[in-house]
Assembly symmetry: C2
Homo-oligomer: 335 residues x 2
Amino acid sequence: MAATIMDIARRLNISHTTVSRVLNNKSGVPIAEKTRQRVLNTAREMGYAPNLAARSLRHASTHVIAVFGSSYVGMWGGITPELMRGIVSALQPRHYGIFYAMSDFGEQNAPSNSSWRFDGAIVLQSPPASTLRRLAKSGQPFVCVNEHIEGRSAVLCDEAAGVRTALDHLWKLGHRRIAYANATHRHLQHYSVVERHDSYCATMREHGVTPPAGHDVIPNEDNLTDRVRTMILDQDATAILAYDHVVALRVMAAAHQLGLRIPQDFSLICFNDEFPVAEVVPTLTVVAPQGERMGQRGGELLLDLLESPEPSSPSTIRLPEQLVVRESTAPPKRS
Amino acid sequence: MAATIMDIARRLNISHTTVSRVLNNKSGVPIAEKTRQRVLNTAREMGYAPNLAARSLRHASTHVIAVFGSSYVGMWGGITPELMRGIVSALQPRHYGIFYAMSDFGEQNAPSNSSWRFDGAIVLQSPPASTLRRLAKSGQPFVCVNEHIEGRSAVLCDEAAGVRTALDHLWKLGHRRIAYANATHRHLQHYSVVERHDSYCATMREHGVTPPAGHDVIPNEDNLTDRVRTMILDQDATAILAYDHVVALRVMAAAHQLGLRIPQDFSLICFNDEFPVAEVVPTLTVVAPQGERMGQRGGELLLDLLESPEPSSPSTIRLPEQLVVRESTAPPKRS
DNA sequence: CGCTATAATGTTCACGTTCACATGTTCACG
DNA sequence: CGTGAACATGTGAACGTGAACATTATAGCG
C-alpha cells in the first residue's frame, strides 16, 4: 500500500540504503546533491511515509510517550485539557506520538500492563499503585505533571505562593478573618490539597492570625451549609478561600440557602480559572494555575530525561499561579 | 531487555515457531499439552510481552486506533470525557491501543499527517478539512461519535427526541410560550446546533405554536440580557430551552441581571448533565446525552468495520437522551 | 510389522528500517 | 601518472514475529 524506501530505490535504480540516508539526512555521510534531490522528489511523488513499526523494531525505541490520565479528564483538578495542550505542544514538534492511557480504567488491560511500548511517560493522575509499581520497575523514565510521586521529577503549581496571592488579595481589601473551605474527600490524596491547606495555615499565622477551629473544613454534601453558617455567622469570617471551583460553587449554593450575598456579606475566592467561574453570578475571583505552561514544561522535562544519557537527579519545577480579580471579592462590610 | 519468543525457545530448546504458536493459541495447529504448559510457564517467568512493533511489521496492521478530539476536550459539547470512557471500554478489552490525536493542534505535525499508522479512527470533533480529506483519501476506516460527517457511520444523540422530551416536560407543567436560546457562534457548525433548533421549531409547530421572532436567538456575550428581556418580559415566554449548559448559565446570569427568578418567573431547561448544572442555584433540569454509551457504541461500530471484510454501507445510530428533573423547571406563574 | 494419516515440531523467509562494513569513483598533489 | 584521501554508493545482516512449507514423531490399522 504505502511506498517504502525499497520502492523508491527500485524506481531510481539505487540502493535502499542511499534512500534511507537521504531521508534521514544523516550528517557525516556525504551524498551527491543530485541524488538527494531525485530521492526527495520521488519520495514526495510516491507519498512516502516511514514505517514507524519497522523503525521501532530496528531501534529499541518507539518514539511514543504515554500520558497517564484519568477518564475523568477535565473534572478533577480542573486543568487537564490545558495540560494536554501543553504536553502536545512540547512533544508534537519533536515527532513524538502520544498514547493516552486511562489509568483508572480496566487495569488488567491498561497500556502499562499490556504490551504497548513507549519511551517514557507523563503521569497526570496517579495510576493505581500496582500500575505505578510496574511502571517504576520497568525502568521507564517518567515525570509527573500536577501530581507528586516521591523521588520523581515533577511540574507542580507553586501552591504556597498561590495561597499567599489569594490571601494577600483578601488582606489588602481589609479582610482579617478568612476561612478556608477544603477539598471534598474525593480529592484528599492530591498534593495540592495538603499544600494549600498547610500554606493557608502558615500564611495566616504569619499575619498573626490563628485560624479558629471550624474555619478549616472538609465539606461534604451533607453539612457544608452548616459549616458555612458557622464560619460566617458564628465566627464572623468575612471571606472564604475555597480549595477549587467545585468547592466554591458549593459554598455559593450554601450562601444562597443561608440568605448570604457575595461579596456583600462575604468575599469568595478559589483556585482554578475554569468554567463556569466567569459565568456565575457573581463571577468568581480566582487564582489560576498555568495549565498549558505546566504541560509544556512537563513535556520538555521528559524529553530532557529521554535524551540525556546519564540519570539526573529528580527536579521539581514550581510554576506560579495568577490572580484573576472578578466580582466575588470586595472589601468587608463595616460592622 | 524484554524477553522475546526466541529467548523462550532457546531456554526450552525448541523452535521459536512453536513458542509463537502456543502464545497465539492458533486453532488448527495441534500442540502437545506438555509443550504448551512449558512455554506458558517460561513466558510468565521471563516476563514475556510481545513486541508490537514486530507484530505490526509482520502484519499490515498496528492494532492502534486514533481518536480525533479537540484540545478543548471537555469544554465543547460537554460529554467528551464520558465519550472517551466509552471508547476505551469498547477497545481496551479487544487489546486495541488508543492514540489520542488533537485535531485542532499543529496540523503539520498531527498524527494523520505524519507517519503514525493506525487501523482506524474515531472522530469526536471534526478535524480541519485538510486533515479530514487526507484521512478519507487514505482509505482508513473511521466512524464519528457525536459528530456528523457526510457518508460516514456515526453514533449521534437523538436530538429530535431529546428536544421533544424537553418540550413535553415543559408542556406538561403548563408552559405554552417556550423560547429557545441557541448556541453561541463558536459551535455553529456542530450537527446538534442545527438539529436542536430545527426540532424545536418543528415540535412547537406540532403543538400548534409558531415560535415568535425573537424567541429564537443566537446569544453572544453582548446582547444576551436584552434578548432574554425581550423573550420573557415583552413576549411573555414562561420557559426557555437552552442549547447547552453553557448557554443556560448565561441565561441565568441574564435573569439575575434583570431581576427575574428561576423557576418563579420562568423555567429553564437545557442539554448536558454536566458540571455545574447540579451545583448552581437553582439546580438545572436537563436532557442528558448518554456519553459513555455513545462512545462504547462508536468503538463497537469501528471494530465491526475493521473486522468485516466487505465494505458495509454507513449506518447512523441515534441514542436517546434522558430527562433529569431538578429545580429550574416548575409550572408557570398564573397571570 | 509395515504403512499411512495425523500430530507435533522445525526451517526459512519476509515485513521495512538502519547500520557496520565493503566497494567503487573522483580529485588533488607529488 | 600513480596514489591516497575524500566522496559517493552498495551489500548484507539484524531487529521480533508469524506464515508457508518441510520434516519428523506417533498412533492406528490391516
